[in-house]
């Protein structure tokens, strides 16, 4: 049984930090363990998450984890509401105009074959925001991990969107990764058939085949 104080502290950390990369989550939880006189281990980390989830399930919350869609496929952890209407999730952080803009970008991303939009196309949806406000908002979205951006300024869904907006994405997207069988928005398209594969799934698959040969 995990110390309840440690559970409370860990839970507050996840809530305060929104979406965390696995390494950052583990570092943070390690500090929590230290503060509660417990020794950190990967097993304790998993146990904490499991216990927290068991306790918050009845409130319709969960600490969900999943891979991002960047080339490395890093794992992220996010405190999400399993029930609520999707776009109200961002409502507490951003203005109405910003939300309209974000929604437009998400729709474009869902509709695109590669799960990417260029900055120019993304900014077309800015409507009531000034160009400057729109750019600042995009930067904040990247900071808060709702969106990610490639070096050549193409936007795709960030880990927080993939985790927090999962039900919305599931009801609007059909494509499933041929390797890991979970939802895919940004990935490699097969030139012959219609399937899509996560970039990180593809490289793992290619590497494993290499090893066999």
């Amino acid at each position: 049984m995990v110390n309840q104080k440690l559970i409370q502290l860990s839970l507050q950390c996840f809530i305060a930090h929104g979406c965390l990369a696995e390494k950052d989550a583990k570092d943070l939880i390690e500090k929590c363990c230290h503060s509660c006189q417990e020794t950190f281990s990967d097993e304790l980390f998993r146990s904490i998450i499991k216990t927290v989830n068991a306790q918050i399930k009845k409130f319709s919350f969960e600490i969900r984890n999943g891979a991002s869609e960047d080339d490395g496929g890093q794992i992220f952890y996010c405190y999400v509401n399993t029930k609520e209407d999707q776009h109200s999730k961002l409502a507490t952080f951003y203005t109405v105009n910003e939300l309209v803009f974000f929604k437009a970008i998400v729709e474009k991303l869902i509709g695109s074959t590669k799960g990417l939009v260029s900055e120019i196309v993304a900014l077309q949806g800015k409507e009531r925001l000034t160009a400057r406000a729109a750019e600042e908002f995009l930067n904040r979205l990247i900071n808060d991990k709702w969106l990610s951006r490639t070096e050549d300024k193409y936007y795709y869904l960030g880990p927080r969107s993939l985790l927090d907006l999962l039900p919305f994405l599931r009801s609007n997207i059909d494509s499933i990764c041929s390797v890991c069988s979970s939802l895919v928005v940004r990935g490699q398209l097969c030139p012959k058939c219609e399937s899509k594969v996560h970039f990180h799934c593809l490289s793992r698959f290619a590497n494993s085949r290499h090893e066999r040969n």
């Binding site: 309840q4 409370q8 502290l9 839970l11 507050q12 943070l28 500090k31 503060s35």
Partner: protein, 176 residues
């Protein structure tokens, strides 16, 4: 409600505290006091302070650092202070770029509005000699959330004097 409080306390380590009705001011600039809410609630962190430091997001620390300074200033000057005096004191303490005083005022004004809205500060308008001046005092939320003794300790350490050298404040802090 009681069940919710229990769950928040047990699972999240958060206390739900009621703000007593008689403490709610009639300041019309405070939007949340319009309407007829009988009770108002504030969420308090039940975890010890050193644990809370782990949780804090870097962005929040700046904002609430400023609030702590403002509350300390108000506390040490007897519980209420004119806006002009507050801003002057802040400029000395925080020591921002003097070449741009309006940047400081502009930024701080926004924060003051935010703190009043969040009930950390109370703002009064007094008319003295046909001049309208604004005064600040601790808001209901600060009364509930902020430990006066810890604040006084912080000030004492800063000024390097014993904590009971401020008899009036020390009395208030220990009465809490």
């Amino acid at each position: 409600m009681q069940k919710a409080q229990g769950e928040l306390r047990k699972v999240y380590g958060i206390e739900v505290v009621t703000i007593p009705r008689d403490r709610i001011t009639n300041d019309s600039t405070n939007e949340s006091s319009k309407g007829s809410a009988d009770k108002r609630y504030v969420l308090l962190n039940a975890l010890e302070l050193e644990k809370q430091n782990i949780i804090s997001n870097p962005h929040q620390i700046e904002e609430y650092g400023l609030l702590t300074i403002i509350l300390a200033i108000i506390f040490m000057t007897g519980g209420i202070i004119k806006e002009i005096e507050l801003l002057e004191k802040l400029q000395t303490i925080v020591g921002r770029d003097r070449r741009k005083p309006h940047y400081l005022f502009g930024d701080v004004s926004k924060r003051l509005d935010q703190f009043v809205k969040e009930m950390y500060l109370n703002r009064n308008r007094e008319v003295i000699n046909t001049e309208a001046i604004r005064e600040y005092s601790w808001g209901e939320r600060s009364e509930v959330e902020v430990n006066k003794l810890e604040l006084l300790q912080f000030v004492s350490e800063l000024m390097d004097v014993p904590i009971d050298s401020w008899t009036s404040q020390y009395q208030q802090a220990t009465e809490q």
